[in-house]
């Protein structure tokens, strides 16, 4: 309760203060700055969706600002419509073009994504410049603020409009980002493969995130047009993009307050640069901060020397430069560069990330209490086990060029069984898993689940068909907590349509998801670490979390890809317990494993692969003595009749 009061209270106070300012102060310059603050606030909240939540360097946001501004301008000047349609059109253009751009950018990560957005931005500048008949080209486009309900929009009224829109955007985005949508965006950033494999869908979420962020960019553009009432293509170029990135990174990613702080910095920057005294004070402050943080990091050994020293050097350059340079305005880009550099290197969480930790300690804000875990009977009701064929592989082949990784594999997994799949390294086990789970389409053959073919080559659609998997090389969502890792994968809980989520009317299903996820965490013994970030868990705990996350899919078939790899003995014992518990719920399991003791203890049937083909199948004890199996593992035919124990190799 205290937490909610503090957070909401702070928001209310700030917005109330901002709303009353025009009544008290009549300085038009200050009012102009505050209006800009609101506009940039909306713009940065939009940019934060891609830069913060999706974790991609988005260089197209400035283009959406420009396109939105021109759309609004043209709707007013050429179509003669009012302000509301103009703003709606500006937002729609952002949404639409953002979604369109996201389509080719979908499969792209990192540098390629940055390049795609950079090209889009350059293209849009070209278009604004060259389509002179429409935009007026380099001449610019003048417009006037149309009256609303017959009232001319005076500066204070326009300011209130911008602030009101910021408040609305703020509330809607807060609701959205705290929901499954926000989690999905972050999951995408940490592991696109696992996002698909957990049935969340990279496709729709990436498009949605990008379209949404761009839509906000367009809306901000519309307001921008009515604020300045004069547009030029040169206003929306790379330079401004850098400043916007500075705002998001400096304010703090993944934070509405961060966007707000960032917007304030952007608005104040020109004043900072034009007043030498102010500049010297601020660069001095920055230098002192970098020095203090750097020294602290060095002494506590929490940061590397470079991370501690580089911001000090950069801020030092700023201070020294401030004394020597005649006109700071000329060096503004270098000043932005030095500031941005210091923040990216030395303060990656941004000002708000830093402040949030500090404030949380100061006010001792507790985490919102978690609900009681749901009953396992409700989440994973015991399934009837009939021993009928559940998953059937028919002459499955997967070739990579000339390599026949899987070469004509047929096997049947019976409902309710624990089916082992073993074989020496390179025998094709992982490829089988990857083909079944949809990462690779098969080169030939079929995969049938209860008699119907599984979708081929789509992790997402296989996951939705009732097959869940874990990963040999962990694919957790590192920045999310253990609880959120499970929540993001939960099947059948999130039913509310987007509008309800935006309005914050989907909280009950959020509680439900928390309760369900807690129950599943309890199943793997991680209930007490629910709020720990996945990447901070121990290695064993991370393996168990993968199992819990896969269970959240409520699968018919659970594929465990070497779950014991690298585990210490006590963890292996616990893993066996966990798998037995899962099996008791009637979930069939395909277990790929190297530890023979795990396989022997758990499996009903074991299939042995070598060279992409089945060389033996049967109960574990029988298979272990099979001469071909012994040969595959030891590399020579048995010399005597005494059966040799196959020696498992570490993964």
């Amino acid at each position: 309760m205290k937490r909610i009061l503090l957070l909401r209270g702070a928001e209310l106070i700030v917005f109330a203060l901002l709303a009353t300012i025009p009544l008290l102060v009549v300085n038009p310059y200050a009012l102009g700055l505050l209006t800009l603050l609101a506009i940039y606030g909306i713009l940065l909240i939009g940019l934060d969706v891609t830069v913060g939540y999706l974790g991609q360097v988005n260089l197209a946001h400035v283009a959406f600002l420009g396109l939105g501004a021109y759309t609004a301008g043209l709707v007013v000047t050429k179509l003669g419509l009012g302000m509301a349609p103009a703003l709606l059109a500006a937002m729609a253009v952002g949404l639409l073009l953002g979604g369109l751009l996201a389509l080719p950018a979908l499969r792209l990560e990192g540098p390629q994504f940055a390049l795609a957005t950079l090209s889009f931005a350059a293209l849009s500048t070209t278009a604004l410049n060259e389509l002179e008949a429409l935009t007026g080209g380099a001449q610019g486009l003048s417009l006037s603020r149309p009256p609303v309900f017959g009232h001319a929009l005076t500066p204070p009224l326009f300011y209130w409009l911008c602030m009101a829109l910021l408040a609305v955007v703020w509330m809607l985005m807060r609701n959205l980002l705290a929901s499954q949508w926000g989690r999905a965006f972050e999951a995408l950033r940490d592991s696109p493969i696992a996002t698909d494999a957990m049935g969340v869908g990279t496709y729709r979420h990436k498009v949605a995130a990008f379209a949404l962020g761009s839509g906000l960019g367009g809306l901000a553009g519309g307001l921008y047009a009515f604020n300045f009432q004069y547009l030029q293509p040169q206003s929306f170029v790379y330079d401004l993009m850098i400043i916007l990135l500075l705002g998001v990174v400096l304010g703090g990613r993944k934070s509405l307050w961060g966007a707000f702080v960032g917007a304030s910095v952007i608005v104040l920057l020109p004043n900072l640069l034009s007043n030498r005294l102010l500049f010297q004070v601020f660069s001095g402050l920055g230098f002192a901060m970098a020095l203090a943080a750097g020294l602290r990091g060095l002494v506590k050994k929490t940061t590397r020397p470079f991370q501690a020293l580089a911001p000090v050097v950069a801020m030092g350059l700023l201070v020294v430069g401030g004394f020597f340079v005649e006109n700071t305005e000329d060096w503004r880009k270098a000043i932005f560069a030095l500031m941005l550099f210091s923040v990216v290197v030395g303060l990656p969480e941004g000002l708000m990330g830093f402040l949030a930790i500090f404030l949380a300690k100061l006010f001792r804000v507790p985490h919102a209490p978690l609900p009681e875990p749901s009953d396992i009977e409700a989440i994973l009701p015991p399934r009837a086990v009939d021993g009928a064929p559940l998953l059937v592989l028919e002459d499955l082949k997967r070739h990579f060029g000339g390599v026949k990784a899987v070469d004509g594999l047929s096997m049947t997994i019976k409902s309710g069984s624990i089916h082992g799949l073993i074989g020496p390294n390179g025998s094709g086990k992982s490829t089988v898993v990857n083909v079944i789970s949809g990462l690779y389409p098969p080169s030939a053959g079929r995969v049938l689940l209860r008699g119907t073919p599984l979708p081929s080559g789509s992790l997402f659609r296989v996951s939705r068909s009732g097959v869940a998997r874990t990963f040999q090389n962990l694919q957790l969502f590192g920045e999310l907590t253990a609880l959120e890792n499970v929540m993001v994968a939960l099947r059948g809980v999130y039913r509310s349509p987007l509008p309800l989520v935006l309005l914050g009317l989907a909280r009950s299903e959020e509680r439900q998801a928390q309760a369900d996820a807690l129950c599943l965490l309890g199943r793997v013994g991680l209930k007490d670490q629910a709020l720990t970030r996945a990447r901070d868990l121990t290695y064993g705990a991370q393996r168990f979390l993968e199992v819990a996350r896969a269970l959240a899919r409520k699968p018919d078939l659970l594929i465990l890809d070497e779950p014991a790899a690298g585990l210490a003995h006590p963890d292996v014992v616990q893993l066996i317990e966990i798998i037995k518990r899962v099996h008791k719920r009637g979930i069939s399991i395909l277990l790929i494993e190297h530890h023979m003791d795990v396989v022997s203890e758990l499996c009903d049937v074991v299939t042995v692969l070598d060279g992409g083909k089945v060389i033996a199948e049967g109960p574990p004890d029988e298979v272990k003595r099979h001469p071909k199996v012994v040969e595959a593992y030891l590399g020579q035919p048995p010399q005597t009749d005494t059966p040799g124990e196959p020696s498992p190799q570490p993964a």
Binding site: P104, A116, S119, A122, F306, W331, K333, L340, F341
Partner: protein, 292 residues
């Protein structure tokens, strides 16, 4: 339309395209070793060109200025690696994209203030008189660009194949971890690649400046095209950049003729987005298999 004019534009454009290819080749060098590229490479080209201009103005003859310019470019490349790339790579993050953009911005601002915002001519002893080759005019200057580009790319490729250091370079490109286990320092190899990439950028600046003049804005004009070339060709395809560079250069020159000079960058950008959408590994790049 007169076919000889089209031919003329295509050939001149293609020769200019070789400069884009050279800058794109610089991306490939660093991408091979570290899977990162310098988003501020255009600024590197520009400051190196300005530095070379200053050397010339100090009275250094053209041929003595070139090594100086290359050395400066290599040093700036190392600065980018140390300040912008290494930390992010150690953290396995993508902070390097933002950091290299930032360092480029710093170079840009420094150049604006140290050398001024105006475009300046770049003197060269190579004559700009045209030679007639099958109905098309080619200047010696344009030819020198082609020769310079192909010479340095050939030299670096030879270096990679024939010398021990070059083989270390190839080893780190193929498998960083395995190379480290064999006693090759990946960090030093990445430094080497950034140094080479910087030198290549400097040469691009020296070659192109006599034709286009030197100015701060040359950075953004060149970088977008170099990006297009690198992405369309594929970031790991050695000489694919040469073909794509010439193709894009010709296309751009024709586009500016038919659509107006404001549109000259459009075809490259559209191709870039299309290539990323259809074939993110590039026309000549190798498709990779996703592994988990």
């Amino acid at each position: 339309m007169n076919p000889s004019i089209i031919g003329q534009m295509a050939v001149s454009g293609a020769l200019m395209g070789l400069v884009y290819a050279l800058i794109a080749y610089g991306f490939q060098l660093t991408y091979a070793t570290s899977k990162s590229i310098n988003f501020g490479q255009g600024e590197l080209v520009m400051v190196s060109a300005f530095f070379s201009l200053t050397l010339t103005n100090l009275g250094l003859p053209y041929w003595a200025m070139i090594p100086g310019g290359l050395l400066f470019g290599a040093m700036m490349g190392l600065v980018v690696e140390r300040a912008g790339v290494r930390l992010a790579l150690e953290q396995k993050g993508e902070g390097w994209i933002l950091l290299t953009i930032i360092i480029g911005l710093f170079f840009f601002s420094a150049a604006e203030n140290l050398w001024g915002r105006d475009d300046r001519p770049f003197p060269t002893p190579i004559s700009a008189d045209p030679i007639h080759v099958v109905g098309v005019d080619i200047t010696r200057l344009e030819l020198s660009v082609a020769v310079g580009v192909l010479a340095i790319m050939g030299a670096i490729e030879l270096f990679k194949r024939r010398t021990l250091l070059g083989k270390a370079f190839e080893a780190v490109s193929a498998d960083r971890d395995a190379a480290e286990l064999m006693g090759i320092s990946a960090t030093r190899t990445v430094m080497l690649s950034y140094g080479l990439s910087g030198a290549v950028a400097a040469l691009a600046g020296i070659l192109v400046s006599p034709i286009t003049t030197v100015g701060p804005t040359m950075a953004s004009a060149l970088i977008l095209k170099a990006f297009s070339v690198a992405v369309v060709a594929g970031l790991d395809s050695g000489f694919g950049v040469v073909l794509v560079g010439m193709f894009l250069g010709a296309l751009e020159s024709l586009a500016s003729f038919y659509l107006g000079s404001g549109w000259r960058e459009a075809p490259g950008l559209v191709l870039l987005i299309l290539a990323l959408a259809v074939r993110p590994t590039g026309v000549f790049g190798k498709a990779t298999i996703r592994k988990v």
